[in-house]
Amino acid sequence: MSTLHYLVLAPFIMAIFVPFFYKWFRNIHTGWFVLILPTVLFVYLLQYLPVGGPMEPLQLTVPWVPSLGINFTVYLDGLSLLFALLITGIGALVVLYSIYYIANKKDEPLNNFYVYLLMFMGAMLGVVLSDNLIVIYVFWELTSLASSLLIAYWFHKEKSRYGAQKSMFITVTGGFSMLAGFSLLYVMTNTFSIQEIIAQAGTIINDPLFIPAMLLILLGAFTKSAQFPFHIWLPDAMEAPTPVSAYLHSATMVKAGIYLVARLTPVFGGTAQWFWLLTIFGLVTLVWGSVSAIRQKDLKAILAFSTISQLGLIMSLLGLGSAAVHYDVANVDMLYATAVMAAVFHLINHATFKGSLFMVVGIVDHETGTRDIRNLGGLMTIMPITFTISLIGLASMAGLPPFNGFLSKEMFFTGTLNATTLDIFNVSTWGFLFPVLAWIASVFTFAYCMIMFFRTFTGKYQPEKLKKEAHEAPVGMLISPIILASLVVIFGLFPNLLGYTIIEPAMQSILPNLLAEGDRFYVNIYHWHGLNPELFMTIGVVLFGMLVVLNLKRWQETTFFLKERDPLNRVYDSGLDGLIAGSQRVTNFQMTGLLRDYFAFMMIFMIFLVGWTFIQFDALSFESLAMFNAGEVTPFLWVITLVLIAATLTMPFIQQRITAIIVVGVIGFLVALLFVVFRAPDLALTQLLVETVMVVLLLLAFYHLPELRREKFTPRFRFTNLAISVGMGLMVTIIALSVHALRQTAGFDPISDFFVEASVPLAGGYNMVNVILVDFRGLDTLLEVLVLAIAALGVVTLIKHKFKGGEDV
């Protein structure tokens, strides 16, 4: 275990102590203790930033399940470092912010909040720092779980529960499909290590499983990163406390899909399918998100749709940039690698401005009691600091100079324009759409930024519509958004601070094949490119964006604007309803409440399963009938067997329960006698004792049972029962015969030989049966008694805690 391993595990370890901090230091906000961890981790991670020269990836392995090729391998390169810094950095700011956002009240379960948050942090670090696909999958699902728990933090609200369930369903479905994709990768490459898979990338490209694996993994990435049409969970996830939205649902978790795509670009990149899928889904998400955002009235909903659209932007950039893998000539590639550079750069920028905006919206919500833009207005003079931060964040998001959003937006346009010149993948036919769609989406992005800004901060202050008297937030709450907003300005003015430290190493891990040994990318970002198409596109965005905002009044009453909910939600809701109704129908069919039905199901299943297995392996044999050698059957044995058969045959004709119990007892004791004859004293003893205890049990149960009524059975019912019992009997007989025959023909040694020989030397016991029970098959025994114990508890629960009717089950 290296320090980096502990770095991943640290949040989990910290989470163990959180409840104690919460309980013992009740007066101190638990957040202060939690804050230490991400801060320390962030500072620790900073030392890995390369200072000049390419970054050397770090790989450290701790075996987990080596026999299956699953190792907890930490792999730290530019891409993982970027994400790890985001997770810890934004994490620290979010924790600080949450200390003021969620007050330390008596009934506020702060311990839950921070345990979930730390669980998320650790899981996310695990996703971005692991090299092993299975480990990534485990952490990936943990992030889904943590996210869903955090969304449902205020679980008494119905909407929170709905949102949590929705995000869980959608992301976990994606996670499962991703696991399937990972398994296919394993089938092709025989390894779970990403680096080893990348090394084999050239050979697996023609494998028939290559495309299915890609599709399955992309489904995982798209659901996590809220790509169209799976984005519908993200707006509902806004029911989470705002620090959570800022952290999980804009800065980190939703970027896990982006991370995965970037990480696997060396494997799948360069193929037409990867290029088109990412680009199309990304662009559709981009446009859909930005158009949906302008009709939202809730500030957080605007930000949610804006996040969706920005994620689409990054995704499409990764798609366009993946074309660079196709070529291997460096100078051509750099043209398309711009898109990847833009993706990485925008990823950082988005985290800064969107994080600060979420926090600002949280402040507005906290200090006014509402997030509805119809009720807000005129907060500019009341909340000047909040206003300034929002101005910076929104201007950056809208793509205005001199903020970092402007730079990455320009690069985005450059990327899309460059992509139109591609001469592969039939881009020449539809490629012109890239810049067009990008431009349209940017117009709407500009428009919703303006709406957010003007409706919140300008106009008339309407105190009568607010739940609280509006005032500026406490300083502590402002620190985090101020830090993020200043980063927006700093990265905007000095973008090359990020160039060699983090963008170049990250690009190096996304596009490793473009570089010669020891070479590095050269990233130079500057504001003024001259009068090029990008600049005109930006000017066009501003002009048309203004037009949209100014004409908004005219469209406000149209149905398009009045309907806030995404129409795709209807598909999800009806799908969920259908699922519930469908499973209810299946359950109703199967759970009849009659024991005999369950018994019939079990028998039928067993008959078919065992019968099928026997036929499948061609194990049926009737030879033993032919070579049947009765041996010496003593008269005593004849008597026992005949009485046994007679007793069994009378069973179906017995009308009275007490007689039935006695006859079953007779059968049991006769079987015990048979065991005695065949020299199995242990079995005989057990059988006798079980019979004795059983009689007491039956007599007790008998006391509670109603009078046995004569039931009228339909012929069909009788026939089914007959068929099942005959089938069962036949099956057991045939199996017995076949086993006997196989033993003769195949010449297997009976397994008992081993026990006869081994029981004294290996287990020191002369009683073979008992030695098997406690030693050779000890685990079986242990689990059997466990089953017994569970059954007994079941009896107790059923009887002592009976339903009186009306309980909520």
Partner: protein, 141 residues
Amino acid sequence: MKTNFLMLHTITRIVAFIILSFSVFLFFAGHNNPGGGFIGGLMTASALLLLYVSFDLKTIKRVIPFNYSTMIAVGLLIAIATGLNSFLFGDPFLTQYFEYYDLPVLGETELTTALPFDLGIYLVVVGVALLTILTIAEDDA
């Protein structure tokens, strides 16, 4: 009319203890002769059941104040603990050990970790049988 179970009570008092001591014998005999935790447990359970059947529930509960659900838990824990014991020696779960010792009074005796494991099984079996039966018996609804 007051019913009199004098005969039953007298016989039960004697027989139950014979069965109980036989069950203890069975339990210890298990490793080399017919018997063992499962059979011993069932035998003990039937002895106790005999007591319950001939006397009434209340009396016997006062005489034998066992909590059978605790007994199940203790049994399972003993069995699992014996299994975990082998981890101390770097062996897989549930590895059993045995060794012959020369003990006073008993002479040369085999001591084996299978015995505590069997004790766990014994306790679970007794607990399950009695818990189930007594729960059903106490149910007066």
